[in-house]
Symmetry: C2
Subunit: 371 residues, 2 copies
């Protein structure tokens, strides 16, 4: 075969979840990819109207002007600090391509969103995984010392973290950004809506990024906004960084259906905020119930829309996940990630879903106890 790019040929592909939902199994409980499923009829209506006008034949708005205007208004930030992408994955990829050179150091604190690793590897940059004693408890000093030692070109962190659900304290993170001016901090806030009550708190780093030279905030419509199938993410940063990213970003990247759907969604923040409150209640309920089970060693409640469930030493994690899958409950195996040996992740989408999952947990519990 034709010789490949030296960096790409050694990439380890990102592990994907089951595609059964698209293989005729639309009754499964999909708790494996952290999607939410709130149907907003107003969003559906704008898509249908758009299609009925036949406007899908035109290339999409390459500036995503109306979507960016709506986001600008929603966040009270200038439009020129916003750039829209085909999902936050594309945003992360474009960030890596724009700022990484061969051999550059990129720090993540283990565990992290593993899809990001592919983008780092494709640039020939060096991914440094920083391991701490307990992945579910941030050791600030340890992290600070690691950064001081490595002086990386980039730090990537999902905040709240996926999959642990922990939140980096604001002031600590802010001080890192201020103290490591040559390090680009990429904060992936896919789950930030679940972490705070007030928009001011959610938007803390987003606002900070406008006048900070080394900070990019990444957002997505795939989680709370329930539009994963339409692929829309966006980033907020200072204008110079936005301009730099636009050099390599493909201008026709986001479909017009996605642009108008996202714009309509953001206009109905209250709808999603109400749904969020419901999810958080359901999540707490789930944590309490699941923690009481024999086969469960520990449930890690989170600042997000998912929780990590750790099974007891004597329990086979793979068989557990397989059992749940056969029962129609799809959870995410995290056990191959270092430090998460006996852990699977469960997406929470509401009380009804939680009851259905718990029922299967009880069934599993009976099997374990009767063995």
């Amino acid at each position: 075969m034709i010789e490949m790019n030296v960096n790409v040929r050694s990439i380890e592909p990102y592990k994907l979840v089951s595609q059964d939902i698209w293989r005729g199994k639309q009754n499964i409980i999909k708790a494996d990819w952290n999607e939410e499923f709130f149907r907003n009829k107003k969003v559906e209506k704008v898509i249908i109207n758009f299609v009925k006008k036949g406007l899908y034949s035109y290339y999409p708005d390459v500036e995503a002007k109306e979507l960016r205007e709506t986001l600008s208004e929603f966040h009270s930030i200038p439009i020129n600090n916003i750039s829209v992408f085909n999902g936050s994955d594309e945003a992360l990829d474009v960030i890596c391509r724009t700022f990484l050179n061969q051999g550059d150091k990129v720090v993540i604190r283990n565990p992290e969103y593993t899809n990001f690793y592919v983008f780092v590897q494709s640039m020939g940059a060096v991914l440094l995984k920083h391991f701490q004693k307990n992945p579910f408890v941030l050791s600030k000093n340890d992290f600070l010392e690691y950064l001081e030692r490595e002086k990386p070109k980039m730090v990537y962190l999902s905040n709240p973290n996926n999959p642990t659900g922990i939140l980096y304290p604001k002031e600590f993170l802010k001080s890192l950004i201020e103290n490591f001016k040559s390090t680009l901090f990429v904060i992936d806030e896919a789950y930030v809506h679940f972490a705070y009550e007030k928009i001011e708190d959610m938007d803390f780093f987003l606002k900070l990024s406008i006048n900070t030279s080394n900070l990019i905030v990444v957002r997505t419509f795939s989680k709370l906004f329930s539009l994963a199938g339409l692929r829309i993410g966006y980033i907020v940063s200072n204008e110079d960084i936005i301009k730099a990213l636009n050099l390599i970003k493909k201008p026709k990247n986001v479909t017009m259906v996605s642009q108008i759907a996202a714009r309509e969604a953001i206009r109905h923040w209250d709808f999603y905020n109400d749904k969020k409150i419901e999810i958080l209640k359901a999540k707490n309920y789930f944590c309490n119930k699941a923690a009481a089970l024999y086969f469960v060693k520990r449930v890690y409640n989170s600042n997000s829309n998912f929780v990590c469930v750790e099974v007891k030493e004597e329990i086979d994690i793979h068989k557990t996940i397989e059992f749940l899958k056969k029962e129609g409950v799809y959870v995410r195996d995290r056990s191959y990630i270092p430090q998460l040996d006996r852990i699977f992740r469960v997406t929470i989408t509401g009380f009804e879903q939680v009851e259905q999952i718990l029922n299967k947990f009880y069934k599993l519990e009976n099997r374990v106890l009767n063995k």
Copy 2:
């Protein structure tokens, strides 16, 4: 600012067309980006049904299985030789990232689809523009000698060529692919449906690519299939190349709305084929009428859905394009491309559109003659 990637920082951005269509001007005649505008009610229906089921909340099918199955059937090729992308632009980008290293030579014959240049530059590869005496007439020997001299890593060619509309003869191109085994040939067939009557002819290189080590064929749903706003492209090649591209390709790249729309479109080939015949007739009519005008030096009929119009030496090309724009006819300025000094490109979408454009041409003609 944070130091940029050494290749990306010197990229010259691709020149975009006017976005007036998304700025409230939906009555303009959009003849600038080679889109077609055939509304297929069946395509619209599947999108609307999909939206009404709320399935947009799930991440898209990362294997695009049903779309690839339909394409496999349509082309009579195995499914494993097909990969689907967020528009053919993403396909071209992923090809460059997978196979180009710093300093690799990439040959194009001037003029070419300029957006491709960005992808080459981002990899630090060297774009070699091969100029021939007449861009509208292929000199085979000249091209062959150039390839022999440069021995490039990659040759990119749109076939039919955009913007000249010329077609590379099958046997000539096939012999190049056979004789330059270390060169990857990327044939962009965005406009191939307009070039041939029979599917066998359209699919000649596509079929050849299955068992050829150095050939990738790129297709799109943005032209004849009238789905530019939904961003769907695909490539066909041998299995090893498909696997290599999948390493860096983002699995969630194509929205689910786009996947189901494209699948439905391809099922109605006869509908689009009929439309194509209409376009070609309208194009010939346009060429005859336009060529008779005083301000026009020459009209270059094409193997595609567009034509190049060359204005006389005494005519100001920029004022001409500006005049047409003010009259609501948006054409594509190609005059900044070497060898195309006084040329603009016009997309043909049907008889009605051609009549509207000609009316504005006549208006311009009167102005020129009365000056």
